[in-house]
């Protein structure tokens, strides 16, 4: 029931995201929809901060609800639960797999709502580049959603669910607000000088930057023509690899944390 509710909520977020696009675009393709729904209305500078913070709302809701997906087993009847589940590491891997699947389903509902509007309003045309762009966007979003929610769970185990969520949400807001300082980064073309290059690295390695589809570049010219706002090298594969490595690190960290949790000392959270 909760899962169904979350899928419906995700679809509603998808509709909220696509409606301004469909209202303003007389003609749209599958690729342009993917660009729009992948943080398409954001940019650098203070003018975009509000749009940015609204674009992450669906993700924040998921982090709140599934931020206790693993952690809840350590809250109530944990001694009983884990006496029947002795191999905690394999249990953790199973649960992370399930969390990844849930992240995928949640994101799918968000994107399918967009596709639904697109299919009804515009004549259907699709190219291979559109499909690839769409798959890149979904993969990046799923990986970020999974990694951030796993981080909330791991932090909750070390502190509590409120602190776990608070830290991750605080970091997300921090990563977004630092774009305020980067308004001039691409003002005169590519960043130059040591300060410009440093700022560029900070921009590229910012986890939130990975979510913005239109900032990326691609070796495939047809995809590159649809994105790459700043004409810089920021490949989709880099983002996928970056978030996959981040997820892998968090899984390893999670295994280490989960095997050290003292069940006796855990209180109930209600």
């Amino acid at each position: 029931m909760k899962n169904l509710g979350m899928l419906l909520l995700s679809s509603a977020f998808g509709l909220l995201s696509i409606l301004p696009f469909s209202a303003s675009q007389p003609d749209a393709s599958f690729g342009s929809m993917a660009v729009w729904m992948g943080f398409g209305n954001v940019g650098l500078g203070s003018a975009y901060l509000i749009d940015f913070l609204y674009a992450i709302v669906p993700m924040v809701v998921f982090q709140m609800v599934y931020g206790l997906y693993l952690y809840r087993h350590f809250c109530t009847a944990s001694v009983y639960y884990f006496s029947r589940c002795i191999k905690r590491k394999s249990w953790f891997l199973q649960e992370t797999g399930s969390l990844l699947l849930k992240s995928f389903l949640y994101e799918s509902a968000y994107w399918i709502a967009g596709l639904f509007v697109l299919a009804f309003k515009y004549p259907f045309s699709i190219t291979m580049a559109d499909v690839c762009l769409f798959l890149y966007a979904v993969t990046i979003n799923v990986l970020w959603l999974f990694a951030s929610t796993l981080a909330v769970n791991i932090l909750a185990l070390k502190t509590d669910s409120v602190a776990g969520f608070g830290i991750i949400f605080g970091l997300e807001v921090f990563f977004i607000v630092i774009y305020n300082f980067m308004e001039s980064l691409f003002l005169y073309g590519k960043p130059e000088g040591n300060a410009g290059k440093l700022l560029f690295i900070l921009w590229k390695w910012n986890p939130v930057s990975q979510l913005v589809v239109r900032w990326h570049s691609s070796m495939w010219k047809e995809i590159d023509a649809m994105v790459n706002d700043y004409q810089v090298n920021f490949d989709f594969n880099f983002s996928v690899l970056y978030l996959a490595i981040l997820s892998a690190i968090l899984i390893i960290l999670g295994i280490s944390v989960i095997s050290r949790v003292e069940l006796i000392s855990n209180g109930m959270e209600e």
Partner: protein, 275 residues
């Protein structure tokens, strides 16, 4: 009254309330020292009005942090106090001592006042800091639009109660802090009432109602075809110039207040041992 004060004292001593207060204080002080270094030695004719240098003036990065984290901060400050009481069994002690009705009402009122003190108090402290440190005779606007420009007066007219601002700018500045604290108080007590209703089993989910309510207000403008902005941040900034509607704000706060009051009344009528 003594019980209310005791409840407020207990809430203020909790680490969540302390964290919110120090977070506000940190943002305020970093911004204050930034201003001190920025305006050191500036001629008074080129200075801005001191209260417009405060953190919650629009287009300020520290203000952004506070406004965007506000849905979480208002819940954190006192929203969990009832759940903490229940976890430690303190609620039973209170109910045995003063009765359920008084306990829940005082808890609700204490949550409101605690939030008012933490947010309103820290911002009032900031106001006095600016009043003491910057020249009061300076009248410039950070937008660099002069008073002789019509646009300036057009922008001023979009403030809440522009007449008060024009005649008593410093009183207006203090009033903004109190209004900010009151709005945070309504949101905090709303989250406390939600926690009393027992809808959510886990603490983390208590963030959800306030977060969704505040963020979804953004879409009201388009869906209800309103001629004013409904993004909550515009109503929390002190000198925001976006088109706003004070009646919509009051209605919004009243609805939240009525819902939370009903939830508290419902809780009072329930048996203490019922969740």
């Amino acid at each position: 009254m003594g019980i209310l004060l005791l409840q407020i004292k207990v809430m203020l001593q909790k680490k969540e309330a302390a964290f919110c207060y120090f977070f506000m204080l940190t943002m305020i002080l970093i911004h204050f020292f930034q201003n001190i270094f920025k305006f050191a030695g500036t001629d008074i004719s080129r200075m801005y009005q001191p209260l417009k240098l405060r953190m919650l003036y629009e287009d300020n990065v520290f203000g952004y942090y506070v406004i965007e984290l506000l849905p979480v901060l208002v819940v954190l400050v006192s929203g969990f106090s009832y759940l903490d009481d229940r976890k430690s069994g303190e609620d039973i002690f209170w109910i045995a001592r003063i009765g359920g009705k008084k306990y829940f009402f005082f808890k609700y009122a204490a949550s409101f006042v605690t939030s008012l003190i933490v947010f309103g108090g820290s911002l009032l402290m900031e106001t006095f800091l600016y009043l003491l440190s910057f020249p009061l005779s300076s009248v410039g606007d950070p937008s660099n639009i002069t008073r002789f420009d019509e646009v300036y007066w057009e922008l001023i007219s979009r403030y809440f109660f522009p007449d008060i601002y024009i005649n008593h700018p410093y009183l207006y500045g203090v009033g903004c802090c109190v209004a900010f604290g009151l709005m945070c108080g309504v949101l905090s007590s709303f989250s406390l009432a939600i926690s009393m209703s027992g809808i959510f089993r886990f603490r983390i989910l208590l963030f959800l109602p306030v977060y969704l309510i505040l963020t979804m207000t953004y879409y009201f403008k388009d869906f209800l075809k309103l001629d004013f902005d409904t993004y909550y941040g515009y109503y929390f900034y002190f000198y925001d110039t976006a088109p706003k509607n004070i009646f919509a704000l009051i209605l919004f706060l009243m609805v939240l207040f009525v819902i939370s009051f009903c939830l508290v009344c419902k809780k009072i009528n329930k048996d203490v041992f019922e969740k």
